[in-house]
Symmetry: C2
DNA sequence: TAGTGGTCTAGACCACGGT
DNA sequence: CCGTGGTCTAGACCACTAG
């Protein structure tokens, strides 16, 4: 059986990307079954009228995604396991939405405050300088899921309460032209204080899942610091990750 | 100021890798300060006597690690933030060891059991078939940190209790020639049951951090399924991740 | 307009895995 | 031994960014 592959040289889409997309969708749709040898890059290149480096670039991008495995002296084959969701900088809003939960957000605080030592250190600003502070309660089906407290450096974004309630913070940042680059996260657990318990409709001392995160843009600026608490009965962190060999 | 760069063509180490290492250590040591332009791949190639694709390959590997950022029409520059620990398939043993904690492990169970429905589904074996079951308590400085319960398919590895107490499970798997490829993790929290509380020297209903994980090798086989519980006062998950743009 | 990275070609030789 | 992927070369043209 031969897989149908073709590239459109008139398209502005890079050739290696076109090929990668076709291979990926073939794997996705089961046309390329797990274990199949893709073998012979040189022959594949000839068949498509491409050079070998171009074909390699396409294959490499899928190897990086974990869909293919290369073995010297053997060939390139489709990975058996259903690797699907790679780890990415997850947005709670997007997570809930893609799970069909139709999240709602209530903005409880949206103001400027003087940066505490903790916030100043995380954002790389001087202690006591003004930063945005927003506190939000996120719910689904009328049940609270998480309490989100975020700090942002001034002048980066204008934080409209209406927009914050309609979508997630990350979407607003991307829409404002901020290119997210990396984030440092810590996930832990602790007992709920009385105040936290009331916000999330839990009892005092109930277990809570906690996450702190600092996000950086591609110039290295910290663009957001957040401390979040989640109801563990309603939310957990789930992700797939690839081993760096 | 010119950075000293050179490659050894007699070395078995690939040229692009030599260059990547030199750039990485220069960034690490602060010789290349954040924001510095590396610019002009063509000139850099000429200076080293390499071709441009080779230089690009070196640079690309550092971009993938999050150390460099490329901008069309501008150049390649060193990222400002201290991106250091990329997310990888973390081993609790290695985490503790690199934190200077000298972990100790007590193997409580090391036997074969019939796979429950949950274990069978995770490992992709038939329910009721025999699988390895190991339960371990990991401590540091005499304090329990985590309770680890793992299941492995039969015939993959021979699980020596002495080795399990001396090192981590992942190291044993790698040493046995298993190439780890990907893992699916879920991190959550819940209240400790009476049994769990006693194991970890917590009180009943104390918050616990939980993690379940299925690990796959490069042929797509599930090689390990684990359910772990951690004392949140002693351990949290910390990692850096890069955004896929 | 000039300079940068992004893409692409058509070859080449080597190292490793399996036969 | 042969076939595979791994590495490398010396060019080329294009798209985007800045000044």
């Amino acid at each position: 059986m031969q897989l149908e592959l073709s590239v459109d040289r008139g398209s502005p889409v890079p050739l290696y990307f076109q090929l990668a997309q076709q291979l990926e969708s073939a794997i996705e749709h089961g046309t390329l079954t797990p274990g199949t040898l893709l073998g012979n890059e040189i022959e594949l290149a000839a068949r498509l009228g491409l050079s070998r480096p171009t074909v390699r670039q396409a294959i490499q991008s899928l190897v990086d995604k974990g869909l293919l495995v290369r073995r010297r002296g053997v060939g390139t084959q489709v990975v058996h396991s259903k690797v699907r969701r790679p780890l990415e900088l997850s947005s709670l809003y997007d997570d809930l939405e893609s799970a069909g939960q139709r999240p709602t957000t209530t903005v409880l605080v949206n103001t400027m405050v003087a940066a505490s030592a903790e916030v100043a250190a995380a954002l790389g600003v001087t202690e006591g300088s003004e930063v945005h502070c927003i506190e939000r309660l996120r719910s689904a089906h009328g049940e609270p899921i998480a309490y989100l407290c975020n700090y942002l450096p001034p002048g980066l974004l204008d934080l409209d309460t209406g927009q914050l309630e309609a979508t997630g913070l990350y979407r607003l940042m991307r829409a404002a032209g901020i290119t997210l680059h990396s984030a440092r996260q810590t996930i832990g657990a602790r007992a709920a204080t009385a105040v936290e318990a009331e916000r999330l409709r839990e009892r005092t001392d109930a277990p809570l899942l906690t996450m702190q995160r600092v996000t950086f843009d591609d110039t290295g600026r910290a663009v957001e610091y957040g401390t979040h608490t989640y109801r563990p009965s309603r939310y957990s962190f789930e992700f797939q990750l690839l081993v760096r060999n």
